[in-house]
């Protein structure tokens, strides 16, 4: 392969000192192509580096224990007084709630698709098409859906069913509706990750269990699922990291501009880290004064989502290696 590998043009010179004119046969097209594509790769990595570097350098000096452990004081745009505890709390709460909604649904769907459905039946193809489509629906459309379905249809419906005496309790943007909207949005992430891990489990394990007289459901619960735990975890982590930074779906389903107290029930609104970044960068009366606060908030948000992402990438890489060994 080395003789054909003109990717390093030095090959054409070495060892042929007397025949310099051969240099005219440098494969310029190959050289250019390799260089250009390599440069594209480098450029993307550089862009990532610049964004992260800029945020770290400008944000790190302003992150302190006081900053992440206190609430918004009198002035939410002043770096010396404002804290982001309510936003961290709100984001954490909506993400945990979302996980509770999405995991059972996603895992059960993946179990059906891999263990029960026939691979090429039209029905399976429709489900799979729906899952793939759902993955590409814009997040703002999920926001509209959450407002129309969860808040106005289910929320108002619950209000009239529970006879809350005309008062609107559930039929307004709230923590629970934001979480439900995000759960719908991240459903495909969980399904696809779980499916991948279920397919990686050798068929022989299932056959051995069935041959010993276990029923299909017993096989799934006691043999298949324990093996799939890392995959399900990956799915959950990916879903969380995707949802943690999303703002568009929660704009009309629960995020609040400002709240004095932490949310105390499922039908309260909440402050959110990502939404707070949006507020700080667009609503501030004094941009230069807010900038340190803004950078610090972005850094905290980024650390949160990146840590989750990196963990997910590691778990998945390990899982794939294991799957390759088993087959």
């Amino acid at each position: 392969m080395t003789s054909a590998g003109t990717t390093t043009h030095a090959n054409d010179f070495t060892g042929k000192k007397g025949r310099r004119f051969r240099a005219a046969r440098i494969d310029w097209a190959s050289l250019l192509g390799t260089g250009a594509t390599g440069l594209a790769t480098l450029l993307i990595v550089a862009i990532l580096g610049i964004i992260l570097g800029n945020i770290f350098i400008n944000g790190l000096p302003h992150v302190s224990w006081r900053f992440v452990s206190t609430g918004t004081a009198t002035d939410m745009f002043d770096v010396n007084k404002a804290g982001i505890l309510p936003m961290i709390f709100g984001t954490t709460a909506r993400v945990i709630l979302m996980t509770l909604f999405v995991l059972p649904m996603g895992v059960l769907t993946a179990i059906y698709l891999t263990e029960y459905a026939r691979i090429h039946s039209p029905f399976t193809r429709i489900i799979r098409g729906a899952v793939n489509n759902l993955a590409g629906v814009p997040s703002i459309v999920f926001g509209l859906f959450g407002a129309g379905f969860f808040v106005h249809f289910i929320g108002r419906g619950m209000d009239s069913a529970l006879q809350s005496g005309g008062a609107i309790v559930w039929g307004q943007p709230a923590l629970i509706w934001a979480s439900a909207t995000l759960a719908v949005m991240t459903l495909p992430v969980v399904i696809i990750a779980t499916e991948e891990s279920l397919r990686a489990i050798p068929q022989g394990l299932r056959e051995a269990s069935l041959a010993l007289g276990a029923s299909k459901l017993e096989t799934i619960i006691k043999i298949v699922l324990p093996q799939a735990v890392p995959g399900i975890m990956t799915g959950a982590i990916l879903a969380i990291s995707r949802a943690a930074g999303e703002v568009a779906p929660i704009l009309f389903t629960g995020a609040a501009y400002y709240m004095r107290d932490l949310p105390s029930s499922l039908h309260d609104q909440f402050m959110d880290l990502g939404y707070h970044v949006f507020i700080l960068s667009t609503q501030s009366p004094n941009v230069d004064k807010t900038r340190p606060l803004l950078y610090a908030t972005v850094l905290v948000l980024l650390c949160l989502t990146f840590m989750l992402n990196i963990v997910a990438i590691f778990v998945r890489a390990k899982m794939r290696k294991k799957a390759r060994m088993l087959h």
């Binding site: 594509t37 594209a40 769907t109 703002i140 509209l144 859906f145 972005v298 890489a317």
Partner: protein
């Protein structure tokens, strides 16, 4: 997968298996519900049931008995519950109020126009005070104007910038990482590029707004600091990982034997990649670009923060631009539930959903074909 169960399931197991089946329908159900619930809010506009005209044809109070209840309810703009709770005198009062208010309202000739009709949504109109017919999105004014053409053009413009910026970079990187790079470089570059997908869009929007906008303005000397170029490039950052990972997958799925055959015939690695592998993976590359388009046109926070949000009809990349997504995000929080403005925002939401739905479906079908061809199935 293809296995039959060893013996008959116990009743409880039967129930559990049915439950699994029912839950697995959730994805289909959700897609269906999205369509129904966004569509439902937009329905009155779709069928021309909304009326925003300030001056309407009025009916004298004496003729009240000639109308049937449904017509009367429509005429007075009441909901069913409101209508049922009112007695005759209240209705009469409302009718005379309506006549009074319409005679009082402005003498502007535009006041009698129902601006939610299709021709005002899509075609230019010469509003009073303007010299020529124009496309105008101005939902908050005495005569609300809901022309969605400026928003569509804005969305397409920003998306175009994003794709022009992102597709060459992402495709180049995909070719390099999957075909040309040494294994160690590949193992490193792939997760790093995929990490770009982990940056929340609000952070990219912040970066475009605070850092990039200033730099770009200094370079280009454009008038508005926030414009389609700034938003488009930031949007490109979020499109790159989408296009990269799908194109890379497609290129990697081309059988290794293709490359080995090309190399054996004396082709260079680049020749093998560009003339053998790339043509074989063209459907996958197409799907990658299609999904990148879907991602770009549906992205909200980046354009909301970095595009400037002025709804003007212009193809100039240096003009401030308002997109469909940013319009929904900025305005839905402040509209009255059930008003014409509210319905129009859901209407453009439906439009967005349909566009991305079709894009995804096309990409999905193309990818499936490619997969079947590469794996030699069926």
């Amino acid at each position: 997968m293809g296995l039959r169960r060893g013996h008959h399931a116990k009743p409880l197991e039967w129930l559990a298996e049915k439950l699994i089946f029912v839950v697995s329908l959730s994805a289909i159900l959700v897609v269906f519900l999205i369509f129904v619930f966004i569509g439902r809010e937009a329905l009155p506009v779709l069928f021309g049931r909304m009326n925003t005209a300030l001056v309407q044809k009025t009916i004298p109070v004496e003729q009240m008995d000639k109308l049937n209840p449904a017509q009367l309810q429509d005429y007075l703009g009441l909901t069913k519950e409101q209508f049922a709770s009112m007695d005759r005198d209240t209705l009469k009062e409302l009718m005379s109020l309506k006549i009074e208010s319409s005679s009082e309202s402005s003498t502007d000739k535009d006041a009698s126009i129902n601006t939610t009709q299709w021709r005002y949504l899509l075609r230019p109109h010469q509003w009073s005070g303007y010299d020529a017919p124009q496309f105008i999105w101005q939902p908050v004014s005495t005569i609300p104007k809901y022309n969605i053409v400026p928003l569509i053009i804005g969305s397409l413009k920003v998306t175009m910038v994003a794709l022009i910026f992102a597709v060459p970079l992402a495709l180049g990187a995909a070719i390099y990482v999957s075909q040309l790079a040494r294994p160690r470089v590949r193992e490193l570059a792939k997760p790093v590029i995929e990490l770009l997908a982990g940056i929340p869009s609000v952070v990219l929007g912040f970066f475009a707004l605070i850092v990039m906008a200033t730099v770009l303005q200094r370079i280009s000397g454009s008038q508005s600091r926030l414009n389609a170029l700034c938003a488009g490039i930031a949007l490109g950052f979020s499109v790159i990982p989408v296009v990269f990972s799908i194109a890379e997958d497609a290129l990697t799925s081309v059988p290794r034997s293709y490359v080995q055959a090309a190399l054996a015939l004396g082709a260079s690695k680049w020749k093998a990649a560009s003339q053998v592998v790339l043509p074989a993976a063209v459907p996958g590359v197409f799907a990658a670009v299609a999904l990148g388009f879907g991602r770009a046109i549906g992205e909200t926070m980046i354009v909301l923060m970095a595009s400037g949000n002025a709804s003007v009809v212009s193809w100039n990349f240096f003009d401030s631009t308002r997109t469909i997504t940013a319009t929904i995000a900025a305005e839905l929080g402040e509209v009255v539930f059930g008003s014409a403005h509210y319905r129009i925002l859901f209407l453009i939401g439906v439009l967005l959903f349909i566009v991305t739905f079709l894009t995804n479906m096309t990409a999905d079908i193309v990818m499936n074909r490619l997969k079947i061809r590469m794996e030699g199935k069926r």
